[in-house]
Symmetry: C3
Subunit: 258 residues, 3 copies
């Protein structure tokens, strides 16, 4: 056995990794500003590609395939390889589809409180009936087939651990989400044949998904990965990327390192 203090000095420098970070719904690539800054300060290389229907793209009439293509094109144009591909929330479905198209370029897939859909499922298939009904009403009330989260729902479900001031400042940054990709059923047969190493980061204070039996991030969706590395954090769905980016970055490192 080893002396008790051996390990605490064993990783003075981190293994240098390349991360590609894929945000979720009601966000754009600026969601990653804080986390990417921390990771870069530790010597890692970080990419935060924007995807169709988000950021400066004013066209909200997008499909899931267009979103996936945004990321695949970014990877192939820069000829990126041996990277850790992180998906947050809805971003989980994107990295599932990206992995099908460029599997040999990926070192490891990391799902952070992210959807891992079964073959043939849509995101809303993972909602409880009550939650799905609410989202369909929000969708029906929009003029451009988008869904916007009312502040009370966002505050209690996405940033439940934030102060009111933090919640309001984060809410200012969110924009209506194109609805269609959330309702599209995805062909994921190829994903479930991939031997790519996988990690699941579970933040245990997340309240964004319904917690009925048979729903939820972990273990309900994480277990679909088969063998995977579990990394647990104490954050919620949205707050910590803004308020504790070093904590989030460290979880990405724990999930991504060899």
């Amino acid at each position: 056995m080893f002396p008790h203090d051996y390990f605490q000095y064993s990783e003075a420098t981190q293994q240098q990794l390349t991360f590609i970070l894929i945000h979720g719904s009601w966000a754009d690539a600026h969601f990653w500003d804080g986390v990417a800054e921390v990771l870069r300060s530790q010597g890692h290389t970080v990419y935060t590609p924007e995807y169709a229907g988000h950021g400066k793209d004013s066209n909200k009439n997008v499909t899931h395939a267009m979103i996936t293509k945004s990321v695949v094109d970014f990877i192939t144009k820069l000829d990126l390889c041996d990277f850790v591909l992180v998906g947050h929330s809805f971003g989980g479905t994107i990295i599932q589809k990206v992995a099908e198209q460029v599997p040999d370029r990926i070192k490891r897939l990391v799902f952070w409180n992210a959807f891992v859909l079964n073959d043939g499922e849509s995101v809303v298939d993972e909602f409880s009936p009550q939650m799905r009904q609410g989202f369909e009403q929000l969708r029906a009330g929009s003029k451009d087939d988008t869904i916007m989260l009312p502040f009370p729902l966002f505050r209690d479900s996405f940033v439940n651990t934030a102060t009111l001031e933090e919640a309001q400042r984060i809410y200012v940054s969110i924009t209506p989400e194109p609805a269609k990709p959330l309702f599209e059923k995805l062909d994921l047969k190829a994903f479930y044949t991939l031997a790519t190493p996988k990690s699941y980061i579970f933040f245990s204070k997340d309240n964004a998904l319904p917690l009925e039996e048979g729903f939820g991030w972990h273990p309900h969706m994480s277990k679909r990965l088969g063998q995977f590395r579990l990394i647990v954090g104490d954050g919620d769905h949205f707050t910590d990327a803004y308020t504790r980016p070093a904590m989030v970055a460290h979880k990405f490192y724990e999930a991504g390192r060899d």
Copy 2:
């Protein structure tokens, strides 16, 4: 995005709130002494009404309606409004019924490892068959239709994280609990029509309820609230109100603030 250190200075002073704290079984209003002192030191207003069959009330032959009336009368006599109503354990069933009677006075309902009963349920309906049988035996063995927890059960199930000395000192303060209200089936149809904002505080080391599939505080009962704010703590069922009142108070603030 915001500078990384923005948020840590953003809440130097707390939003001032009014709390009404409703204790659970085998407790009286002194259960709140430590937590109330902390909250008051932070500028909040705190009420800890006693209810029928508890504290100095020697009459143990009470009904759930009498208990609810104690709290409603307290609120209406003092003409309290815009308060955060917190229920712990059995106190969850009380705030469900109080909310039905004075919904417009309540700012937010906070359930802390508390029962959220379905319409038509009793507290013992949320026990496993084994636990229910044990409680029925304890009830049958009493002379005044109360239930007293034997120390070994209390120590391992209610104060599992406490030292033995803490456990013994807390045990000295508990008294036999009127049995009838735990077995009464409650009409909660009106509760499930209320749009009052709700929070659920879940202390993850709680071992008071059986942990069979289909039982437990969270998410089994919390999910009945529909949309709610989740706040997680690392305490058990009873210990922290005595040993870490500032931690408990902070969780109440996180659950109650806007």
Copy 3:
């Protein structure tokens, strides 16, 4: 009620206990070196008996009964009494069977992310079909009916929170595990009649068992203990015994004290 700072000084010295620690699969008694050293430094008495098929025993053709006999013989030869018997992982099945044979010598049983088998079950009955199939393949590939964990599986499932260097150093210490005892169905009728006090320590970052609904350490197996004391820690399955032995030792004390 008590002054708020009362309890923090109430346990300057620990109740002196005797521990017998039973390791799990892919380990030998040296697994306990760090934890035992901490416990002894606090005045406790600690035994870490080796059992058949492990450590210096080159005979891997062992049965579960032979393993149990190793521990029972150790206890009876030293005439040990009033001890806390801790089982980790597969060690849970051993302390179940040991408790059947020497119940009156045991002060308390402590299961640490350990199997609590139903009467008539084997360890592999608690695996998901996918995991069981993987273990059967590993078994079939061995020449001496043992199972060795490939490093990628060990790293992601047993030491998921470790650094790579920690994971590699721990991996060097593990040896092929005799397969037969993992597949043996155990008669545990007597165990389920024992009134011995019981604790379950659950480390919440453990990823060694599948997390399908209806599987897992806690509450799926812990609940079989009936009334028990729950102690929660933030470790994984294997790492902390090496890297945070004082934390593990403290959890053993919390689980074992009166």
